[in-house]
């Protein structure tokens, strides 16, 4: 019988872009079945032992109370065996046993003990069984994910980048689920004091079923992040997300241009290349140190400490050690700035200006650090990078030093070296993903930041220091829409409500709230760090940095009727119906006209 071949799977996505259901592999009552299957042998043993004991006891001859020969009925025998086997032991019922019966009961006592020990032992070993526990955990996690009833992000890969990002997201009160191949990393989720419960799945992110368990098919999933250290896995996650949930935003990490191109073939993912981003940052650091300081501070998320501001090196020659993927990127960035670059790499195939191992003093001598203005220790070996920094400090103390840290464990060593700019690829990825996902306003702000002058950035940093102290407070967004600002919105449409009024204390309007307005978005037009004289309009979106207490005060203005009028005019508007009636004879000059 000839049937038409099934349609090839590869063309399916292109043709219809149907939303395929993502089926988690943890099905229904799987664990119950595992228990049942494993308990087969012990249960059968127990039944057999019981049957033999009961049957035997009912057949063994005995005597009744009158001394007449009698046998226990099957029911009596079952009753006696039930209380004997469970070691309850009521004695000899319904009448004293004969010696033959006692012998039989003695044997069955030992038999049933073996039966029970076997059954309970099997159950205990099953509970300790690794596969069984994994099945239980998977089921547990899958249930937790299914029950999520608020938007959440799916984070694939909970290494350094995932952990840093997770902490920042958690501080913002965002929910997320985690997939990681390593069980220990998922265990750290339990130990880490997250505010919200974070479901973590142990599994290979390349498997769409694992992603399904972590909530890829969940209606509340609002984004996918592929942050594993493996380009192949990130690509697989990008593919799975793009094919199964094309409407979701996707952030992936890679350092390879080829992989980035392959990812871009599936939909439009946001690709974070840490080397590329670090290059942009360092160019910013060279041009405008205060902007660089502001950017790194805001990107680090709530609670981050302000890093000291560097000084931009004079234009001159740079030495880039390690001319691989990172070095090439970076040398190109420097050349684009019009700087001369000397490159060092052991492999002649990379065509560096100096061929040789950068750890070799002779080689680094040929690069002539004494006359250079900057050094980039960018090899993929932390020991080499550290010794390069030490060498640079010795020969030319004024050198601007940028170093690349590959291993998380070496963080303390690099911190002790006090380099001018430090590249930690995982941190760059985490900060970039945070800036993109936390709020679109922050991302907008950071994109506009390079166009601002150094003095402007220094001013913003000073205002942030006044409002927050040395540790950054949460960034919060205020939307002046009818839904998000029901009390303020009608007041805005009458005009004349300034940003300075919004930043007054609802309890005492002469007190100014300590919050820094970072950005106002009106339509598609963004104003960076707006002045307090700005007149607010309905529909504006504002990004503030300031303490949570300040945020609550501002929310009071947004939600409580009459507060806005008080802030603008100093006149208290009665909020209850009776007081409004009573004070109608003397209306406030700015009283609400509409209902």
């Amino acid at each position: 019988m000839e049937t038409a071949p099934p349609p090839p799977v590869t063309t399916r996505g292109r043709r219809g872009r149907r939303r395929a259901p993502v089926v988690p592999r943890a099905e229904g009552s799987a664990t119950v079945f595992v228990v049942l299957r494993r308990m087969r042998a012990p249960l059968i043993t127990l039944i057999t032992i019981f049957a033999v004991s009961v049957l035997g006891l009912s057949l063994v001859p005995g005597v009744d109370a009158q001394g007449q020969p009698a046998r226990l009925s099957l029911f009596d025998a079952f009753y006696v065996m039930s209380y004997t086997a469970t070691t309850i032991g009521f004695g000899e019922i319904p009448y004293s046993f004969s010696y033959a019966q006692r012998m039989w009961v003695t044997g069955t006592i030992y038999l049933t003990v073996i039966g029970w020990a076997y059954a309970i032992g099997s159950l205990l070993s099953l509970v300790q069984d690794r596969a069984f526990r994994q099945a239980l955990t998977l089921r547990h996690v899958s249930r937790k994910v299914t029950r999520l009833r608020e938007p959440f992000l799916l984070v694939a890969g909970y290494g350094q980048a995932g952990e840093t990002l997770g902490e920042a997201l958690d501080a913002l009160g965002r929910r997320f689920t985690v997939v990681d191949i390593s069980e220990t990393r998922i265990d750290t989720l339990e130990i880490a004091g997250h505010r919200a419960d974070v479901p973590g799945v142990v599994g290979d992110a390349r498997d769409p079923h694992v992603l399904g368990v972590a909530g890829l098919g969940h209606p509340y999933c609002e984004g996918v992040l592929a942050l594993t250290g493996d380009d192949e896995a990130n690509l697989a996650v990008a593919m799975a997300a793009a094919l199964l949930r094309p409407e979701l935003p996707l952030v992936t990490r890679t350092t390879s241009a080829t992989v980035a191109e392959r990812m871009a073939r599936f939909g439009a993912p946001t690709i974070v290349n840490p080397f590329d981003r670090f290059g942009d940052h360092l160019r910013l650091a060279l041009r405008t140190p205060a902007s660089y300081q502001l950017m790194t501070w805001l990107e680090s998320g709530p609670g981050a400490e302000l890093t000291p501001r560097g000084t931009a090196p004079a234009p001159g020659r740079w030495v880039v050690c390690g001319y691989g993927r990172f070095g090439r990127h970076f040398a190109a960035d420097l050349r684009a700035e019009g700087l001369e670059v000397t490159t060092v790499d052991p492999s002649p195939a990379e065509e560096p200006s100096v061929v040789g191992d950068a750890a070799d003093p002779d080689v680094i001598g040929r690069a002539d650090l004494a006359t250079a203005v900057g050094l980039v220790a960018g090899t993929d070996n932390d020991t080499t990078n550290l010794s390069l920094v030490a060498e640079a400090r010795r020969t030319n103390p004024g050198l601007f030093v940028a170093a690349r840290q590959n291993q998380p464990a070496d963080a303390a060593l690099f911190a002790a070296m006090d380099v001018d700019a430090l590249l930690v690829p995982t941190e760059v990825v985490a900060h970039d993903a945070y800036a993109r996902l936390s709020t679109p306003l922050l991302w907008r702000f950071l994109r506009e930041l390079p166009r601002q002058s150094d003095e402007w950035s220094a001013g913003v940093v000073d205002r942030l220091l006044d409002a927050c102290g040395r540790h950054l407070e949460a960034l919060w967004k205020v939307r002046l829409t009818p839904e998000d600002a029901p009390a303020l919105h009608p007041r805005l449409s009458r005009g004349g409500f300034r940003l300075a009024d919004l930043l007054r204390d609802p309890a005492d309007r002469d007190q100014t709230l300590l919050a820094v307005p970072l950005l106002v978005l009106r339509g598609d037009e963004a104003t960076m760090a707006p002045g307090t004289d700005l007149v607010l309009e309905p529909g504006d979106e504002l990004l503030f940095a300031g303490r949570a207490a300040v945020h609550r005060e501002v929310e009071a203005t947004l939600f409580i009727d009459g507060v806005a009028d008080y802030l603008a005019t100093g006149q208290r508007v009665p909020s209850s119906w009776i007081w409004r009636r009573l004070s109608r004879s003397t209306p406030a000059p700015d009283a609400p006209a509409a209902t």
Partner: protein, 128 residues
């Protein structure tokens, strides 16, 4: 030859045959229905039930269901017997015997379904 299949088939069939043996005969005549046979039928049926645990296929689920029905009926039959012999003052009367045997007759039907399933499974297995 698979020993597991042999054991499985053996118990399923034995449960049915013992059940049939007990059911056979005048429904209200206590002399024709040996209680030890009922006991054996119950024990074998319980073992057959445990053997069916953990099979996640559709046919496995129906197998388990039939066994559970048979167990339930046989337990009810033994309870009827125990009531008649030990609690009721009249002993094992015609009425008590009839209700005990008819309960086991229900179990027999479930066991027959079980055997039919076994045969169906075997036949469809050979065809592939």
């Amino acid at each position: 030859m698979n020993l597991e299949k042999v054991v499985f088939g053996f118990f399923v069939l034995l449960a049915a045959t013992l059940n049939f043996g007990f059911f056979l005969g005048d429904i209200s005549d206590p002399a024709l229905h040996n209680v030890y046979e009922l006991f054996a039928a119950l024990v074998v049926s319980l073992i057959a039930t445990v053997l069916k645990f953990g099979d996640r296929t559709q046919i496995g689920a129906v197998h388990l269901a039939t066994s559970l029905v048979a167990d339930l009926q046989l337990v009810a039959a033994t309870l009827t017997w125990a009531w008649a012999v030990h609690i009721s003052s009249e002993g094992l009367t015609d009425v008590a015997t009839a209700s005990m045997v008819s309960l086991s007759g229900g179990a027999l039907l479930a066991n027959v379904v079980s055997v039919v399933l076994l045969v169906v499974e075997t036949v469809s297995f050979q065809r592939h």
